[in-house]
């Protein structure tokens, strides 16, 4: 999708490629521990922390990539990156009508202003696929919430660090717009 919106991109496989990147995206398919160990095994964690926490390079975590920003997850035992004060929790609906995983298209309600979204309150929907959700400690860092049996934090942000629970790369023009905003406004 980045190619489709005309953004030069590369897969980061070394400290050098990381150093020359203006924006960073951490997508994620998989389980929490698997994702964290992959990150650790890549040997890039230190360089990544330097880029994001010290040089303040804009960072977008997607789905599991967003959950890894939290301190820990009920899905695993390995600690998360802990860049945003938050936890990752399992959906436990009381009602069988609410199915888990939360799977499909859902809307978001904007709670705090972010350059990620346009000011216009027009209709937008995004594609979700997850068993676990994020709960941020501070409501100031919650950009948007979504309803699935309970409200959860679907977009979190702390300065240059953003996490989105849904998949913008799979969300048609709505996702394309969001990625464009991330690329051009941060």
């Amino acid at each position: 999708m980045l190619n489709a919106i005309g953004v030069k991109n590369q897969i980061i496989d070394s400290v050098e490629t990381l150093r020359v990147s203006d924006k960073l995206i951490l997508p994620g398919v998989g389980s929490f521990d698997h994702g964290m160990s992959n990150l650790t095994n890549s040997g890039l964690t230190n360089a990544l922390e330097q880029a994001v926490l010290e040089r303040k390079v804009p960072f977008l975590g997607i789905c599991l990539g967003a959950q890894l920003l939290t301190s820990k997850s009920e899905e695993g035992v390995i600690p998360g990156l802990n860049w945003i004060e938050a936890k990752t929790i399992r959906f436990r609906p009381k009602d069988l009508d609410i199915k888990v995983p939360h799977m499909g298209w859902n809307t978001v309600t904007i709670k705090n202003k972010s350059k990620l979204f346009d000011d216009k309150a027009d209709f937008k929907k995004y594609y979700f696929a997850h068993n676990y959700y994020i709960r941020a400690t501070s409501s100031n860092q919650v950009i948007a919430t979504t309803d699935h049996g309970n409200l959860f934090d679907s977009v979190i942000q702390k300065d240059n660090i953003i996490g989105v629970q849904f998949h913008p790369e799979k969300s048609h023009r709505f996702g394309m717009k969001l990625l464009e905003n991330f690329i051009t406004r941060f």
């Binding site: 999708m1 398919v29 998989g30 499909g104 594609y127």
Partner: protein, 261 residues
């Protein structure tokens, strides 16, 4: 509020897109790359790509073809057909698919579901179940494109895969495949009422009303269809189509009435 998804299912045979009737008589529909491109432009909720001959030929997934297809799509996509082991699954995710669909392989190697769910998360795994009614009206589980009867009864199989880690269930009625006579709401309800994971209903959709019934009567979380989105009219002329936006809206409204918050 989560919307109910409407998912075109594309059946692959070789490099062509085909559509079967009751899992037989595959009719050539066209080039699958082209079809995916059209569905992508129509902004479908999700796409499901199933190679219906890969397991029977024991050839494994056609990775070259499906990676070409995946590069065309910015919609959520799942792939199934011919998956033999965890290496196949890893490759499918690397290619860019969001989910894998497991069916025949699980009757022999149920542990594959466990290792796949552990590595990629339950939300990445769809378990597909093909059923046919016997002469007593009992649902019998089949694998290998409907050619092999399986021992576990439907209820037992559902319990097993749910416990091991199925993220979604794709329930397919072989009897209704390609018939465009309406979905088997009784079958769908018997699955959705017992399963905590989302249920995708398939087999028999011929029109918009059929899709709605699967949701309002069968309590499906998503509805899938092949013929309805690739054929037009009673002579089965090839026409790639999808629901109009007001129809999609009506589908989500019907869900809202079912599950008011």
């Amino acid at each position: 509020m989560l919307q109910t998804r409407v998912i075109p299912i594309l059946s692959l045979s070789g490099s062509g897109l085909v559509k079967t009737t009751q899992f037989k008589n595959p009719q050539y529909v066209g080039d699958c790359r082209n079809a995916v491109k059209i569905f992508n432009e129509k902004e479908v909720d999700e796409l499901c790509l199933l190679d219906i001959t890969a397991t029977l030929n024991n050839s494994g997934p056609n990775f070259d073809l499906i990676s070409e297809i995946a590069s065309e799509a910015f919609v959520p996509m799942s792939y199934g057909g011919g998956i033999r082991n965890i290496q196949d699954i890893i490759k499918i995710f690397e290619i860019g698919f969001d989910k894998v669909v497991l069916n025949s392989v699980l009757y022999k190697s149920p542990e594959l579901l466990k290792s796949a769910a552990k590595q990629f998360g339950e939300q990445s795994i769809i378990v597909s179940i093909d059923v046919r009614k016997n002469f007593l009206g009992k649902y019998i589980v089949y694998s290998h494109g409907g050619s092999q009867k399986q021992k576990p009864n439907l209820q037992k199989h559902l319990e097993d895969i749910q416990r091991i880690g199925a993220g979604e269930i794709l329930i397919n009625s072989i009897d209704r495949d390609g018939m465009r006579c309406g979905l088997d709401t009784k079958l769908i309800k018997s699955v959705s009422s017992k399963i905590s994971a989302p249920v995708i209903a398939c087999g028999g959709a011929g029109n918009f009303q059929h899709l709605k019934e699967a949701i309002t009567v069968g309590y499906a979380s998503a509805v899938a269809a092949g013929s309805m989105f690739v054929f037009h009219g009673k002579h089965r002329a090839v026409l790639i189509s999808y629901l109009k936006s007001n129809e999609l809206e009506e589908i989500s409204q019907s869900t809202k009435q079912l599950f008011p918050l």
